[in-house]
């Protein structure tokens, strides 16, 4: 990043300061008393702020951006203008943190769409290409090694998850006598995580995807306790990604860079699937084990699988109604 670019960023901040920070500030002044937390950011930052209002000393942000983030409303209550401001802040923050120009959109769900996923466990060979593809696509912290997909190595004849190996590392896969079962967010229709969240920071969108507003999550991790599939991951520290590894095409309720202290998980690649593309894990899978599609489309491949294959869902007895099915190559005998 050149100095000139840096200045440009700051000039945007100048324009936004009265407009954005103050407006929100007065609107919600009343709650300040309850949030002494801002003070934790430090007196030194405040001193810097007075001397150089545009120096990004507020947790790597300028004062106006920090205030904008602080007072940002819940996703469903933001006006178009507020959403635009939020998207601009996300871009500026990425530029400052990674030195990369990213795009960030708020892609809405497509009409008449309800997504589901099916995975052929007889085709999965345990390569973990899906895991890798997911990380590259979704900007997970590399130091923190967040992975949305976990491939379990199972013994043949046994489907007890407690006997699975999460960290299998043989010279080559598949290993004889083993089979492989990838697990990620099952996008439950009756989702325990959504019910558990105290602030509605996570919800089932109209296309069936369980999304998270990373700016609204308070980091209580109630959803992580609630999830029976261990799909949710917490940012225990600020996620670090090398500039060249950033995927610059991001989505607000999707793969935009996250901050420390919030929960994230698989979102069926909203940034791709809401534009008619495949999720990254499906694209990455070399064996064709993964089938993603619209459950409302009677001609979709996923509908064909549900109608013609013997399928099962993970921990179905819990009543979570996952939209993620497992099946095998064996076709079901039709009467």
């Amino acid at each position: 990043m050149t100095d000139q670019q840096h200045k440009d960023d700051n000039s945007i901040d100048d324009q936004n300061l009265p407009d954005l920070a103050k407006r929100h500030f007065f609107k919600k002044l009343g709650m300040l008393g309850a949030t002494g937390a801002a003070a934790v950011t430090g007196v030194s930052a405040a001193v810097d702020m007075v001397k150089e209002p545009n120096k990004p000393s507020w947790g790597g942000a300028t004062f106006s951006d920090a205030m904008g983030d602080f007072f940002q409303d819940h996703y469903t209550r933001m006006s178009d203008e507020e959403m635009n401001d939020a998207l601009e802040r996300i871009k500026r923050k990425a530029k400052r943190k990674f030195g990369v120009d990213i795009t960030c959109e708020d892609t809405k769900p497509m009409p008449d769409t309800y997504f589901g996923y099916a995975l052929n466990i007889s085709k999965c060979r345990g390569y973990r290409e899906c895991v890798e593809g997911c990380i590259q696509e979704n900007n997970q912290g590399r130091d923190s090694q967040v992975q949305y997909i976990r491939v379990l190595e199972m013994d043949e004849g046994d489907s007890n998850l407690e006997h699975s190996d999460h960290y299998y590392d043989p010279a080559t896969v598949p290993v004889a006598g083993k089979y492989y079962m990838p697990v990620q967010c099952q996008q439950c229709d009756n989702a325990p995580c959504v019910k558990a969240c105290p602030v509605e920071a996570t919800w089932i969108d109209t296309d069936g995807i369980i999304v998270i507003d990373y700016n609204w999550c308070i980091g209580c991790r109630m959803c992580m306790s609630a999830c029976p599939y261990w799909a949710r991951h917490f940012n225990w520290t600020e996620p670090q990604i090398a500039a060249e590894d950033i995927n610059p095409n991001t989505n607000y309720l999707g793969n935009r860079p996250r901050m420390k202290g919030v929960v994230e998980k698989c979102h069926f690649c909203t940034q791709r699937t809401r534009k008619g593309r495949q999720p990254a894990c499906m694209e990455a899978c070399p064996t064709g084990a993964r089938v993603f599609g619209n459950l409302l489309d009677p001609d979709s491949e996923i509908r064909w699988i549900l109608e013609n294959k013997t399928v099962f869902r993970l921990k179905e007895e819990l009543g979570t109604e996952p939209k993620f099915w497992y099946y095998t190559d064996e076709a079901r005998a039709r009467t």
């Binding site: 949030t35 998850l161 699975s164 325990p192 969240c197 306790s225 609630a226 261990w230 917490f234 600020e238």
Partner: protein, 416 residues
Amino acid sequence: MKVFCAFLMDAMKTALKGGPLYYMWMSFLLVLIGITAWSYSHQWTEGMVITGLSDQVSWGFYIANFAFFVGIAAAGVLLTVPAYIFHRKDVKTVVVIGEAMALSAVIVAMGFVAVDIGRLDRAWHVMPGLGKFNWPNSMLAWDIVVLNVYLFLNLFIPMYILFKHYQGKETPVRKYFIWIVITCFWAISIHTVTAWLLSSNVARPFWHTALMAPRFISSAFTAGPALMIIILQLVRRYTDYPVSQSVIKMLAIIMAIALQISLYFVAAELFTDFYFEGAHAASMHYLFLGLDGFDGLKSWIWTAVGLNLVALTLLMIHKTRENMVTLNIACVLGFVGIWIEKGMGLVVTGFIPTPLGEIFEYSPTLMEIGVSVGIYALGAFVFTILTKVAIEVELGRIGKHKNILTGVGNTGARAE
């Protein structure tokens, strides 16, 4: 209003004045609070990576302490009921100390939640109206409601009574009796909801049991009286406030009964899990016997069982329950035993193994304990001030209240 300001001023003066021992005690607590401020500033800048927590075990020492101290707060009711429902005059004299303990324990519990959430700067998101509150669905939302109301109840009822006493007035109990009844039910509700915070998770078989809330109440009614017995003795030693031995006897009996019920519940859980050991028993197996070579909590839980059994024995033998030395030993053992069992033993074990069958152990870091010490200290700090002010008012040293030492006469006359 003017009188109320005077009341607050006098209260403030009382809090600031004291002997050398008082100053030493309060400075010690402030040092601990300072350690927390320093440790938390690290957690704030670096993230919760400074804790021993992980995606596998996502709650630990903080939430364990939170659950435990909600129990201590709930146990305040054990003085309120005898004082106001059973009209025990001896208990009524010290009920304000129980309320101060409940209030301080709520503050400690809330402190532990505050340091456990990843984005404290977004705490306003839980405020109804301003934020977005997932009520009535989320059990955490319920917990926020009940804890805040309990805090409010335990602040305003004693403050109202003390303020009246300060003015030399005696309020008839019937005027605020309804609030006392509400507080009693509320005490049970805070700990029930805290138990449901865990037991509502179908993903965690170890917690997903209807016995969780009863277990929480019974263990709270063990640890609560244990702490109260010790605190009442301290009040008796360091102040001239009348603490009747009959109150301590009553609490010791409550503790003896509650501890038996608590251990009985543990036994019932153990039977159900171990008689025919299914997949749901994995966490219990890990806790008591270890699993696949991992047994980080095994010695921990057996220590708790041992402490509780010794405490129970001391409480069940009439002589050792009446003897203050052995009673105090029983209180310390019971308190620590419950703290281990329902703290780390209950919270951490729920995460092992993970829902995908992975075993990943947890132990708190030094930083995590550093963040915690000042939260305990804050509770002790608040409790000391509240008790000091209450005692001065009750003894008529500030305000116009009739000195209960000389005015009312000896308390506890009808104790036995």
